[in-house]
């Protein structure tokens, strides 16, 4: 049985841990608010972008001059997966959920005899995927040094992806990230970005009211400028959602940890008090029986 001193030490150490988890929870809460604001501020842009893209695709009407980024290469042999995760751990199942979704996807593709390439954004996803698929990972984008996520970060990734596409490095590109639903629920999501999912064209349509646009320069030229930008926007949105989701997950994970530490302190204190009482009783008995023997 643990001695009183051991118990005291245990309690002290659990208390210290509790303080840390509590501080982390509060930090996560503050960061979550900021991340959420950033995600919200970015929403108008991606929404408008979607609407503009829908208009212009309608105008072109799937004509022959649509750029390859939109129509794809017509094959689906080589898949590129962009797996976005957090840079840090201690956020519950957040990272492993995304990684699991990606891994299932990879397994399915490999079983179908497709070639898979991976770009990891964030350290944690890289750590997890490296175990099984180290040979497939092309590159790892490190955002640890980045304090506030800017569009430039997303743009840099998008540029790499587009460059790779133009070199014929892959046929289909899918983005893995965690959709921020609420503080307690983040949904790992796979989204195909190249070729651009056809769904975006179908959702809009009523927006322009069938207005006939004039284009300056030609629609094809605008589109070839717009599509790469749209990819950057999609990645940016994924990164922002991820940042918000990470903080949400971290907040609830740390909240749990704080509560567990509290429970543990209670249990340990009870054991400690019982044991102390037992010892006092024992000492009293010894004194009394000693006095009686006289």
């Amino acid at each position: 049985m643990a001695s009183l001193k051991d118990l005291r030490n245990r309690i002290a150490s659990v208390k210290a841990t509790q303080k840390i988890t509590k501080a982390m929870q509060m930090v996560a809460a503050a960061k979550l608010r900021r991340a959420q604001e950033a995600a919200e501020a970015a929403r108008p842009y991606s929404e408008r972008m979607g609407a503009v893209l829908a208009n212009i695709t309608q105008a072109i009407g799937g004509g022959g001059d649509a750029p390859a980024l939109m129509t794809g290469t017509g094959r689906d042999d080589v898949h590129l997966l962009i797996v976005c995760t957090a840079e840090r751990g201690l956020c519950g199942g957040f990272n492993s959920q995304i990684a699991r979704l990606a891994r299932d996807h990879i397994r399915r593709l490999v079983a179908d005899g497709k070639q898979v390439k991976i770009i990891c954004v964030g350290k944690k996803g890289y750590d997890i995927l490296r175990r099984d698929y180290a040979s497939l990972i092309l590159e790892r984008v490190d955002l640890r040094e980045v304090k506030t996520l800017g569009f430039v970060n997303a743009d840099a990734i998008a540029r790499k992806v587009i460059h790779l596409f133009n070199e014929g490095g892959f046929d289909i590109c899918t983005l893995f990230y965690s959709q921020f639903k609420s503080v307690i629920s983040q949904i790992p999501t796979a989204q195909q970005i190249i070729p651009a999912a056809q769904a975006s064209a179908a959702t809009e349509g009523g927006n322009s009211g069938g207005a006939v646009y004039e284009y300056e320069p030609e629609p094809g030229e605008i589109l070839s400028d717009l599509i790469p930008r749209n990819i950057a926007v999609q990645i940016f949105r994924a990164l922002l959602e991820n940042a918000a989701g990470e903080m949400g997950a971290k907040m609830s994970a740390m909240d749990n940890a704080t509560r567990n530490a509290g429970d543990m302190i209670n249990r340990l204190s009870i054991t400690y008090n019982r044991q102390r009482q037992a010892q006092i009783t024992k000492e009293l008995i010894e004194i009394i029986s000693g006095a009686e023997a006289l």
Partner: protein, 135 residues
């Protein structure tokens, strides 16, 4: 007084302007254009330059944008800028960095098309710098 319409200036990070305006001057890729209410639907790309917004209240604001798109409808105008800042907040160092980047791009360009595009971009940036920062 001219009729007002809705103008929105959006950058990927945030929504900068969303208000009723009288006219907007947009640095279109093929020349500057002034947009007023009931403009014919136009979609255009934007070169780096200054957007002048004349609000319905008569107040005039100027924003520096670095490339993007404008989606113009009779009912309103949306400007999707790659990056946009108010003219008062422009950062000399940032502009200098962009010019430096553009110079490198022009130097690294692999083929003629890319080079001429990069050089054009560089020229636009330099003009912008000249217009904004009187030596």
């Amino acid at each position: 007084m001219a009729e007002a319409f809705k103008f929105e200036l959006v950058s990927p990070e945030r929504l900068l302007v969303s208000e009723q305006v009288e006219s907007v001057v947009i640095p279109g890729a093929e020349g500057e254009m002034t947009v007023m209410a009931q403009h014919a639907p136009v979609m255009t790309t934007i070169k780096p330059g200054v957007v002048t917004v004349k609000a319905a209240s008569g107040k005039e604001d100027r924003y520096v944008v670095f490339g993007g798109f404008a989606d113009i409808l009779p009912s309103g105008c949306t400007l999707l800028a790659e990056s946009a800042v108010h003219v008062n907040d422009i950062d000399r160092a940032d502009l200098a960095r962009r010019i430096q980047d553009a110079k490198e791009d022009a130097a690294d360009a692999k083929d003629d098309v890319a080079r001429s595009r990069a050089e054009q971009f560089l020229a636009q940036l330099t003009t912008l710098e000249g217009a904004l920062l009187p030596a």
